[in-house]
């Protein structure tokens, strides 16, 4: 019985974060928790990307002194992840600002309630009568 190699442990961690985050995104109800789940999923994606450049026994891609002291890990995925992290926090801030605004306007922080009221709002804006008898609104929206 040998232990799984280090990369597998890390890869499993990254995939777990991705799955947990995506599961949270489809199942959560509270808007703030949806934003949090998104952050977890992004963290998983970022780790996955960094792992694509990792190799055993290599050093960080920074030249200290004249000659490199052995093989280095791939710097490209690290640069990509720097970009992805900053993108993630920008999107998160915008999402939270929208949550605040939506809460102020609709008085709810729950996704299903928000969705129902949004549909009512759209009907009202289009001048449609608020109709309860309309067959399940879910049928009309392709998700």
């Amino acid at each position: 019985m040998s232990l799984p190699p280090l990369e597998i442990v890390l890869y499993a961690g990254a995939v777990s974060l991705l799955i947990i985050g995506l599961a949270g995104l489809v199942m959560s109800e509270h808007l703030v928790r949806l934003v949090l789940a998104l952050g977890v999923a992004e963290a998983g994606g970022n780790l996955l990307l960094v792992l694509t450049g990792f190799r055993q026994g290599a050093v960080a891609p920074i030249l200290l002194g004249a000659a490199p002291s052995g093989p280095m890990v791939d710097p490209i995925p690290q640069a990509l992840v720097l970009t992805a992290i900053v993108i993630g926090v920008g999107v998160q801030a915008l999402a939270l600002a929208l949550v605040l605004r939506v809460r102020r306007a609709y008085g709810t922080v729950h996704m299903s309630a928000l969705r129902a009221r949004l549909v009512e709002d759209l009907d009202e804006a289009a001048g449609l009568p608020p109709e309860g008898s309309r067959e399940a609104p879910g049928v009309e929206r392709p998700v």
Partner: protein, 97 residues
Amino acid sequence: MYWITVLVVAVMVLSALAVLLLPNLLAAVAASSVVSLALSVVFVIVRAPDVAMTEAAVGAGLSGVILVLALRRLGLWGLGDDNRPQPERFSGTGDDA
């Protein structure tokens, strides 16, 4: 080294689960900061010091502050159970599934 990695990854995954499952949102935000901190340790382990610094500053620090500010403005700044109190028609079913 190996067991440290396993430990950090385990902490990271368990905190990620906690983000979804903790009933209190302030606690969930704290858990998400723990995810980021553990992740930045993992980045150090995979020889990505730049990414580790960014993740610690941005993921754990900045995004934690933004989340806490938002929670304060939402009036969810407390240690109660955030799934119940909203007086709404659709109360949080499935929030902690």
